[in-house]
């Protein structure tokens, strides 16, 4: 019942609903991909280059005569895949580190969290570029790089929640009853620290997609000729005077996607924060 209640509260307002709708649309686009795209996104047709938006090419064509709409559609898949996998990496690694550090405390905490602090000390983009300099450019490596960069955030958030949950009576009770560490962490601690992690996941997805675009923009992410919004933006930059559509449409795609994830993240935070939730429930909305 709790999940249903959460969803109901979440979608009370139109903004969160709109954001969710955009994201559902995006996921559908990414899944349909080539079936939805009117043209081959990597098929060049130089004689037909730099054509403006028309009935044949809704978003125009780029400097090699490729259909911009098809590339934006396929770019959705690239962006989502990189976003989801990268956040997945940081989620798993970060939560694990946070659980161990928070639950065991003492030297485990010191070692893990100081290592996280070291990672955290570097600006995210600089760190990602450094990782890619070692691994070499490419979208798989971009996922790993972004995943590494966002790991400390998840570690910190998880640890902070674990610290308070660890002292709860039910945890102590479980321990007195003879439960092992693994069971306590899995059954009692983890379920009670999920709220902030879910919020952070939504916001991190936005950042990860933005990071992928930025890395591709500078040539370190997705490699040509594969479509990526960031790369399309970078390619379109040299043609802004001749062909605005080359940069505007992928730019809009990035903007809308990132905005949707952020709005949803904000709404989730409002709903999942127990105090906020109480306040919301108490404002007279019929239950």
């Amino acid at each position: 019942m709790r999940a249903g209640e959460t969803l109901r509260l979440l979608f009370r307002g139109p903004t969160a609903l709109a954001a969710a709708a955009v994201l559902v649309l995006l996921v559908l686009t990414a899944f349909l991909g080539e079936r939805l795209a009117p043209y081959d996104a990597t098929g060049t047709d130089v004689s037909n280059r730099l054509q403006g938006p028309s009935a044949d090419h809704w978003f125009g064509t780029d400097e090699l005569g490729r259909d911009v709409l098809s590339r934006v559609i396929l770019g959705a898949e690239v962006s989502l895949r990189v976003g989801v996998v990268a956040v997945g990496i940081s989620l798993v690694a970060g939560v694990l580190i946070g659980l161990l550090a928070g639950y065991y405390g003492r030297w485990v905490d010191d070692v893990l969290m100081r290592l996280s602090d070291v990672l955290f000390a570097f600006p995210a983009m600089l760190m990602a570029i450094a990782v890619l300099a070692i691994l070499g450019p490419g979208s798989t490596n971009a996922m790993i790089a972004i995943g590494i960069v966002y790991t400390p955030i998840f570690a910190r958030i998880t640890r902070a929640s674990v610290l308070s949950v660890r002292e709860e009576v039910y945890v102590k009770a479980a321990r007195s009853a003879g439960a092992g560490d693994l069971r306590i962490i899995g059954r009692h601690v983890l379920p009670n620290v999920t709220a902030p992690i879910i919020v952070q996941t939504s916001i991190s997805l936005a950042f990860a997609i933005l990071s992928e675009a930025a890395l591709s923009f500078v040539g370190l992410g997705t490699q040509p000729p594969d479509p990526s919004w960031g790369r399309m933006l970078s390619e379109g930059r040299g043609f802004v005077e001749q062909a605005w559509w080359m940069a505007v449409f992928p730019g809009l795609a990035i903007f809308v996607t990132v905005l949707a994830f952020n709005v949803l993240g904000d709404a989730l935070r409002d709903v999942l924060d127990p105090r906020q939730r109480q306040a919301m429930a108490g404002t007279g909305v019929t239950a």
């Binding site: 130089v46 040509p224 040299g238």
Partner: protein
């Protein structure tokens, strides 16, 4: 032989290689500062009114790595050094060598001794007088320290100064390309005797040219007219080079009059600028060429049939159009049409059927994977690669484009860690520069691992052949084999594209992209 007679063998000469495929790469730091922080009297409009001639402001896209003419390999450095240093002889716009620090020269009957008479009354920017000891010092520095251009003296046995006004170069074999080797570009500049020990040539310059190097900053380089220049003094008071990496910013500055000249004009902008009355556009064929090379040390690219299949599978017209927006001429060999040394030879028609057949027989997989290494340092390689990828997909080659920073690119090329790459050679004049080091088995720029004894023999013979017709015949033969074997898969010769303010007088756009502001007068 006096200067007039030299002409026969001197039209167009050896490798300038201002920025070569193999060893270019310094100065690839862009400082995006259109406003310039040069701190001098910039802003052309104000300065151009006064009697002195004003300061010419030039926007260049890249930053020089250093100012030592014997050590730098960066085109951005040579853009500046062109105006600061002199060589013994200098190519004119047609590639014919004219007197500079040497006023005349003769060669002995056997072609092994060249005697140069030096110009009187030349002083360096530090006030010291120029004489033969400076020439001997400069050349020996390049040879003794084995600097990048030492290969240009490969056939030189000794350099002597019998008197202050005479220099003798003794050769171990006739070297028809000698004038190009010592004067083709400012990498062979004359510096004062002992200068390398006395000062830091990387940051200062003591030349004999029309301008002195006054100062550098994060935003640019300032030159001032040298009053005691041996020729007619420059018309402008000075030149300010500003680093502007964004083409749009360079063109805007040109339109507004903040900049008088720029070479930062991407080919896609040419069409829009042709009718632009606020900008004078110069487009002329260059001596550069761009090519694709496959790693012949690595199967299946060691297979000649496979390489020929790839050559048949590529539609050069489409690649050229994609990469250069028409500002280039397709070519199946290296030397451009305008050169005396051009040899018409185009055996590869775009023929997907033949390509498929050849590739099918030679490939180790179907489709045959081929990594194609490109660099964002030269965006046209990235564009060309995407078209080539689409073309080769139709003939059974699965091209994986690998975009690298130029430093990584060069490392991988040197280590042989690639399947294929795209790049260009810039600034060649003599066929020696176009073919020799790239295609002889032990060539210093033969990164693709090509080795054909027949080509070696032809190229070595041609390097020492003094009869021009015979020499051309040898190079033509060698070029045909190189093309047939697909040692390089030649794509096109690009145009030089530069833009300047209307009313700027006396500037000459050149095929070798040498930029000289000595005779330039600012607009009224």
């Amino acid at each position: 032989m006096n200067r007039g007679k030299v002409r026969g063998q001197v039209l167009a000469f050896a490798a300038i290689a201002l920025v070569s495929a193999g060893c270019g790469g310094g100065g690839d730091v862009d400082v995006d500062d259109p406003a310039g922080t040069g701190g001098s009297d910039s802003g052309g409009d104000g300065g151009s009114e006064n009697a002195g001639g004003g300061t010419l402001v030039a926007a260049i896209s890249a930053q020089p790595d250093q100012f030592d003419p014997h050590k730098t390999q960066a085109y951005a450095s040579f853009q500046i050094l062109e105006n600061v240093y002199d060589t013994l002889v200098v190519p004119d716009a047609e590639g014919e060598f004219q007197p500079s620090l040497a006023t005349e020269w003769t060669t002995s009957e056997d072609g092994l001794t060249w005697t140069f008479t030096l110009r009187d009354g030349v002083t360096f920017h530090d006030g010291s007088a120029f004489d033969s000891a400076d020439v001997v010092y400069s050349y020996n520095r390049i040879i003794d320290e084995q600097l990048a251009n030492a290969y240009r003296f490969a056939s030189v046995a000794s350099i002597d100064a019998p008197d202050p006004r005479t220099v003798t170069i003794t050769l171990s074999a006739p070297t028809p390309a000698l004038l190009d080797n010592i004067g083709g570009f400012k990498g062979m500049s004359i510096i004062p005797e002992g200068a390398a020990d006395a000062t830091d040539l990387a940051t200062t310059a003591i030349g004999t040219g029309p301008f002195t190097l006054e100062g550098t900053s994060a935003g640019g380089v300032t030159l001032a007219r040298y009053a005691d220049y041996w020729g007619d003094p420059a018309l402008v008071d000075g030149v300010e080079f500003q680093y502007v990496s964004e083409p749009a910013a360079a063109l805007t500055a040109l339109r507004s009059g903040d900049v008088h000249w720029t070479d930062n004009v991407p080919p896609q902008d040419i069409e829009g600028l042709e009718d632009d009355e606020e900008i004078e556009l110069g487009v002329t064929p260059s001596v550069d060429y761009w090519y694709l090379a496959m790693n012949q040390a690595k199967p299946p690219f060691d297979n000649r049939d496979l390489r020929r299949g790839v050559a048949f599978g590529i539609d050069r017209d489409e690649v050229t159009e994609a990469a250069r927006f028409g500002a280039a001429t397709t070519n199946q060999s290296a030397i451009p049409e305008q050169s005396l040394w051009y040899h018409e030879y185009a055996p590869f028609e775009h023929d997907p059927d033949q390509a498929t057949e050849l590739i099918e027989q030679a490939a180790t997989a179907d489709p045959q994977p081929m990594g194609l290494m490109v660099t964002d340092e030269y965006p046209e390689t990235v564009q060309a690669a995407q078209v080539i990828q689409a073309q080769l997909a139709e003939v059974g080659v699965d091209v994986g484009i690998e975009q690298e920073t130029f430093a990584t690119w060069l490392d991988r090329q040197a280590a042989g860690d690639y399947d294929a790459f795209l790049l260009g050679w810039l600034g060649n004049l003599d066929p020696f520069g176009f073919y020799h080091a790239q295609h002889v088995c032990e060539g210093t720029s033969n990164f693709q691992g090509y080795c054909n004894p027949e080509v070696d023999e032809l190229l070595n013979q041609a390097a020492a052949e003094t009869d021009q017709d015979a020499r051309k015949a040898l190079y033509d033969q060698a070029a045909e084999i190189i093309v047939d074997d697909v040692s390089y898969l030649y794509l096109y010769n690009p145009d030089v594209v530069q833009a300047w303010a209307p009313g700027l007088e006396g500037y000459e756009i050149r095929a070798d992209k040498a930029i000289n502001f000595e005779t330039v007068r600012l607009p009224e």
